[in-house]
Symmetry: C2
Amino acid sequence: MSTDTRISDAVSQTRLWDRHVVMGSIGATARGGVNRLALSAADAAAQAELAGWAAARGFRCVRDEIGNLFVRREGMDRDAAPVLMGSHLDSQPTGGRFDGTYGVLAGFEVLEALADSGMHTRRPVEVVAWTNEEGSRFQPGCMGSAAFTGVFPLDRMLGMQDRDGVSVSTALAELTKASPVEFRSMQSVKPAAYLEAHIEQGPRLEAAGATIGVVTGIQGIRRLIVTVRGEEAHAGTTPRAARRDAVSAAVAVISALESMCNDAEDAIRFTVGRMEVTPNSPNTVPSKVEFSIDLRHPDAALLARLGDSIAETVQATASGRRCAAEVKHVSHVPPTVFSDTTVGLIRTATEALQYRYLEMPSGAGHDAMYLNRVCPTGMIFVPCLRGVSHNEAESATAEDLAAGARVLAQTLVALAGS
Amino acid sequence: MSTDTRISDAVSQTRLWDRHVVMGSIGATARGGVNRLALSAADAAAQAELAGWAAARGFRCVRDEIGNLFVRREGMDRDAAPVLMGSHLDSQPTGGRFDGTYGVLAGFEVLEALADSGMHTRRPVEVVAWTNEEGSRFQPGCMGSAAFTGVFPLDRMLGMQDRDGVSVSTALAELTKASPVEFRSMQSVKPAAYLEAHIEQGPRLEAAGATIGVVTGIQGIRRLIVTVRGEEAHAGTTPRAARRDAVSAAVAVISALESMCNDAEDAIRFTVGRMEVTPNSPNTVPSKVEFSIDLRHPDAALLARLGDSIAETVQATASGRRCAAEVKHVSHVPPTVFSDTTVGLIRTATEALQYRYLEMPSGAGHDAMYLNRVCPTGMIFVPCLRGVSHNEAESATAEDLAAGARVLAQTLVALAGS
């Protein structure tokens, strides 16, 4: 391969698209999305599919203690720290076909492009599918990358349980049985850099008519669980004045929190996505409501202040309705700022390929958030239709997906050395 | 038995209390309540217990098409229309030991008191345990009495399903197998009158220091289901302005309905007891919320007007949050007014026994509501601790329970003839 040849020219738009079609058929839902909850049978099938493709190309496949799956193409210096590319194959219960999947398949496309062009990088290059990025079945999300980077202890992650009481370690044992590959300890891998391609999951690129988002960082995320406790009572006989109605109190609490998060610039992301009512019977005044809060902002100080003030608002509002309340802080990930080196290389590659681009922070959390703590990290966004994501209607074009893979390929080669 | 002897003297406070202890052990919960969902194994066990007691006393036991269980003591005129006493043995998932159970056991105590004193009534006397009064597992509630009185078609009731898709007829077949008794068609029974003893389930008798509530009627009940539909979106990337957040809209809708029902006299009973969020994932903007409304008031016109105006408030509030909404009217039972005859006989018996009493409407719905459509009907209330009901902490004293049974016995004899 001559030095004039760009690795991006070896990226195949058709192959990349076809791989998405196949992956989209695993855990496919009736409405065109996927349901591949972390460590489910569908997740195992997706991993097995990827491992099959890797074997067909002669790439080595390994899995670590938390189930992260790595596909490795050797470098000229086999002992050099590898450059990692990837994302995740698990999805929301009613997720789309591109969230996560794209980052894994774009990375795999780069591996194939390298192999097709016979290009040898100095460093080994690995594609990784991180375990349980979504945090839907097991909390916290980004579990695989958090364990890999030592942000959360491996043992604690393995002990986390889903709503049916199934632990990560039990589910992982089943996945390993369904999709067996060689084991490699996470301790033995110190990545030189990490790149993650992803759909934007927001409306900005589409609105700007840009093909590539050069991602500068990730807004911070706080996760909380609020429990409001009242008293069960008969719906027909208990006057309003005598009620301690947990639904009524929870409604007032959520309203108060929404007002608190109602910023003029519409930058605060406040979401109550999960809610459980007890005993959940139409003619009983409810005794308990538990709900989740997902709070995000790119500014570390504002996010800290806002998150810290939730408990006071919750307590004051609930007690005004004669209910008690607890606020549990599940996680607090401050905003992430990617290294100038990786962001610079992605910008350079994008400009060389003459794609229109925006520099932007990521609204969503990604595994890149944790990888950034241990190595230079960067992300490449491509547009998705109407910014819709975490939705079966999620959509992206073959052209944009290939454009992102080309930028990924160029950046990878710059980091891995040719 | 001399005409001077009062049947109420044959009522045994100890026996009545002990029967409550035994019934309270069937489906007992850790916190002192019962979980005997309609047509469950626990409900079958409670029916079997009652049937066992009936057999021991030589009373005939029969069950009808919807599972209503009748214990009969013959009258001198075997062909005369029977006087019925009863209530129900099913409970809320976290119900108390007295709601329903008391009315059945007080009726059975009266049968035993009659047998013990060798008193022969002209009319046959029957104790009935109506099927599925609570409406917790299967909707609608008061299913057994509604079918018995022809208010709802039997076939439709038998086809109703619980959340697991199990139909009433399937569950009833299992109950019949677990607790077999002789069949008697509901068509063959035309009751002469119906009496139901019950704990008040509200705070009024306790506050007034009264032992007996002479119940004048039952407030009307409307049941509705509201569905709010938005759009799933990523919690991190979707600005507030672009969201169609079903939880946020549902919270606004419930707030608006609460304001609408906020009457100065605190007579409107508005309850959102059940709520289901879809997809119920912490980091996905919810696409759907379904919740129940239980609305009650003693005034027919006000209840009709209030219930009819719910849809408009729901639609306007939801569309203000860019969500769609549907309102489904599940049932509408207008207020009930009991017959002057039965209310008068209960008042006379209470005065003769020198109990302090209140005349009052019932805040809760009861099977008496439907029986009142086919025969003179009355209810007798006794106090319960702090008015707490539909709660494992539900409590009543042996003295008050016996007092209610004595009033029931006197009234029954007046209706059945001695």
